[in-house]
């Protein structure tokens, strides 16, 4: 063996996370767990508030990947159920997107080769059961995600961070000092306080107040890919509900979201400001849902060219902004935190490692964008400027290939990084009416074999329904049980 020159790279002695929302708090907990010897500081805006325009922080739900991160960084589902008004969600329901008016569902977990899949069937019936890992179980491919009250959820994360010894500070980044390599050595807050660290996380939301101090970050514009640039959430939460589907309904101005939860039901309108004025949007929201309008949120769809610049890593809306179908905003942030945990930069920061982070994050972000863009291949029955514009949106080469392969033979090409699951993609494309060809192997199976496949699936669904309980009862039971 050659002489052994191996060294561990230096652990960052200190990390400062900026931001007051979910993304900042999740990242803080993740880093505090992964780096027990590192001093982690969470710097929130005054009063611990969260940027009210950061969608990843506003998200009250996202895709099932969040549970994986929770498990990894020691966040108990039980705590979310009990302390953050948590409830379970089995998928997304889409209404009015298609010319024929048919609804469709993206259920979490495995899509079935024919028909709705287990999660969709359970959600429709209002029944719930936990997934069962045993192969052969009708609940084997099932998955779910949580909904929660973001404020309470955040508070929970902060108290975990506290227990892990995180230092708390308040203030907004105002200026920075750099060393000779251009890395930030300390951030000066608007309060005058100074935060020194080896590594900085910018989870401050849109505008990325921190990474801007690290250089001149390039922004890649997605306005040609995604049509929504304004959101109008309802001012108040509507009555609580326990439906296990989030609803996304196309309307003339764009689309409406309705997401029930134990603390109330969230609704709002997504639209394009150049086609619908804020006043018109307020009328539309009232007309469609009866809700009175809250504060308008402007979105600049796009992403940073490099989320990791110098010694600053941007996460959440600081790194990418886009419309919240399925609240993918938090999902992308979760994937980015996982990537950060995988490629946790040692010191000195290695340009190749940084390149790897940026390369993979960009692929994740772009595939997330394409997943959203793929929604707009649906054509609602009504003619409206928003939907006419949506029909002219640009598709990336990867999306073109995806749509083409699906149309030709129900195949999904594999890409180097995938943000949403293949099951979600399959259900989206099948649901939104992308014409679906048949895979050659399946075509060769013959009619009888395909019928048998369908019958087997129906049997599985029936067995799953039987194994599940009405959700309100299930939840009452779970909450009634002594906390585990």
């Amino acid at each position: 063996m050659p002489p052994d020159a191996t060294q561990s790279r230096h652990m960052p002695g200190s990390v400062a996370v900026f931001g007051g929302g979910t993304v900042a708090c999740l990242t803080t907990v993740a880093l505090a767990r992964a780096l027990p010897r590192t001093r982690v500081t969470l710097v929130t805006p005054p009063g611990g508030s969260c940027n009210p325009t950061a969608l990843a922080d506003l998200a009250h739900t996202t895709w099932p990947g969040l549970a994986r991160l929770h498990e990894r960084i020691g966040i108990a589902e039980d705590d979310i159920l009990r302390r953050a008004s948590g409830s379970h969600c089995l998928g997304l329901r889409y209404a009015n997107w298609r010319t024929d008016g048919a609804e469709w569902i993206i259920g979490h977990g495995a899509a079935s080769p024919s028909g709705p899949g287990i999660a969709a069937a359970l959600a429709r019936a209002g029944r719930f059961a936990l997934p069962d890992g045993q192969p052969g179980s009708p609940l084997a491919g099932l998955d779910y995600t949580l909904r929660f009250d973001p404020r309470a959820y955040r508070a929970g994360l902060r108290s975990i961070a506290n227990r892990l010894g995180t230092t708390m500070a308040e203030g907004r980044p105002a200026a920075a000092s750099h060393n000779e390599t251009g890395a930030i050595t300390q951030v000066i807050l608007d309060t005058g306080a100074q935060i020194a660290a080896d590594l900085f996380i910018d989870a401050t939301g849109p505008g990325a107040g921190l990474i801007a101090l690290a250089g001149q970050p390039q922004w890649i514009d997605w306005q040609d890919h995604l049509p929504v640039n304004r959101l109008l959430p309802a001012k108040d939460l509507a009555r609580p509900g326990l439906s296990m589907l989030d609803r996304f309904e196309a309307c003339r101005e764009g689309w409406l979201w309705t997401s029930p939860g134990r603390d109330g039901t969230r609704t709002g309108l997504a639209y394009n400001a150049s086609l619908t004025s804020d006043a018109e949007a307020a009328d539309a929201l009232l007309g469609h849902t009866g809700a009175s309008p809250g504060e308008v949120i402007a979105i600049t769809p796009g992403r940073l060219e490099k989320a990791f610049t110098g010694n600053v890593i941007a996460l959440g809306d600081a790194a990418a902004q886009f419309e919240p179908i399925g609240w993918c905003n938090l999902h992308l942030a979760v994937r980015a935190i996982e990537l950060l945990l995988e490629i946790l930069p040692g010191l000195p920061i290695d340009t190749l490692e940084q390149y790897e982070f940026n390369r993979r994050w960009a692929l994740l972000a772009d595939r997330t964008r394409d997943f959203l863009a793929a929604h707009y291949t649906a054509r609602p029955a009504f003619a409206a400027p928003f939907w006419q514009a949506a029909a002219r949106l640009k598709h990336s080469p990867e999306l073109i290939l995806t749509l083409r392969e699906f149309a030709r033979r129900s195949r999904l090409p594999v890409f180097e990084e995938e943000s949403l699951s293949r099951d979600a993609w399959l259900q989206l494309l099948a649901g939104n009416g992308t014409p679906a060809g048949m895979a050659p192997r399946k075509l060769a199976m013959g009619h009888a074999a395909r019928e048998k496949e369908r019958a087997d699936e129906d049997r599985r669904v029936a067995a799953a329904l039987h194994a599940a309980a009405p959700y309100p009862n299930w939840l009452a039971n779970r909450l009634g049980a002594p906390s585990s």
């Binding site: 191996t6 561990s8 790279r9 027990p36 180097e416 014409p435 048949m438 895979a439 050659p440 075509l443």
Partner: protein
Amino acid sequence: MIASQGPTGMKPVRVVIAGGGTAGWMTAAALSSQLASLVDVHLVESAEIGIVGVGEATIPHMREFLGTLGISERAFMAATGATYKLGIRFEDFGAIGECYTHPFGSFGRELDGLGFHHFHLRARREGLAAPLDAFSLPVRAAMLGRFAPPAGHPLTLEGGYGYAYHFDAARLAPFLRTFAESHGVKRTEGRITEVQRNSLTGDVTALRLEDGTVISGDLFVDCSGFRSLLLGETMASEWEDWSRWLACDRAAALPCAAQGTVIEPQTRAIAMTAGWRWRIPLRGRVGNGYVYSSAHLTDDEACAQILASAGAKPLADPRVLRFRAGRRRKSWVRNVVGIGLASGFLEPLESTSIYLAQIAIARLADLFPVNGIEDADRDEFNRLVDLEYDRIRDFLILHYHATRRSDSPFWQDMRAMAVPDSLTGALELWRRTARIAPHAQGLFHEPSWIAVLLGQGIVPEGYDPRADIAAAGSLERAMGGLAKEIDRLARAMPAHDEVLRQQETAHAA
């Protein structure tokens, strides 16, 4: 639109396969069984020309191939005289006297999401750990001559590895032929002397044989071997030459009698002065061959050296095969798809050739042009095939380049060569951070790269700082415990030749 109609009433696509070697019959077997009534498969082969007849070692994907065809392992092994393979033992590559195994499985266990090799690098620096080999069950088992198939969850030690086969290269094609013919494949014996084309489109319309027989079809699969009759000669698909990185262009193959009863469940690859030699243990014989660079060694010297080093009774004279590393720029041109040696060649250092045929067949079945070929089908197929070739290419080059040998002009050249940018990037990332960039498609993932990189002495300058968090004592205990557990599991496995003997007895009964 084909979507709702199903195949009823559709005319099957007439697939003509030119060549009946391993690639030709694999293609015939897979297409006929998986695409059933969508295809009408006709294979042409020439006994006079024969098959290349080498290619005895596989990787675990072979099992998947048999699985999708519904062929049982037992039947396959009995028909082809197969033995089990847990990995490849490389000797003298990094430096003379050094060896390591590239197993079908990873080393150790991840801890808190951090790869085992980071912990091992630390333990190594502190002098706390056994060599990497001790942390892989397939490596331990192979070294002890033992074998058992993985059992249990893939995240456990017992369930977390793969295996493949060594088999008699002359027996696979006939075995698959029986299978394919039972699925309706027609076969014609004869030499192809003319390829007829549509003068307007350039598509191939028919093959004409020496005896005047004309076989027409819609889709032509070129499995004619190195000659690349349709893809290379007729369609003139450009050749992309990789010999500046992979200099070996000859092999002297030598079957030998087996010695003793021990049948190793691994391939051996032993570096020589102008290349390397393989040792593949089969039932009752051992395959040997010297893969060398003709620029550095004459055929006579190569034959003499393989005879001298095989260390067993030769069953025939050494046979010299010629090849070159590279691939056709496009594997699918017009209505011609090249599969197997007809589409390209990467030398057998990691036993990947049959895999490349397998993957091309699977992609062809995925993208099968039921309703006429579109340009985008060809592009997608070619993109996917290229990706596989490129990844394997870089991994093979690594074996030559990552060396400290300077004992011969060949190794001096290998060491000094400029490698492809993709490999330079991967090496640099590893050297500086001990990371391997993951990829979703293609062969050889992190564990394989780690095995070869560390095995050939490319020790990174830095590893992940999280590996330093655990106290030295507990790290040493955990490592020691793991190595012990792996050794215990390996010793509990039956001897490989015993497993094979029992199979034979069961088969005879």
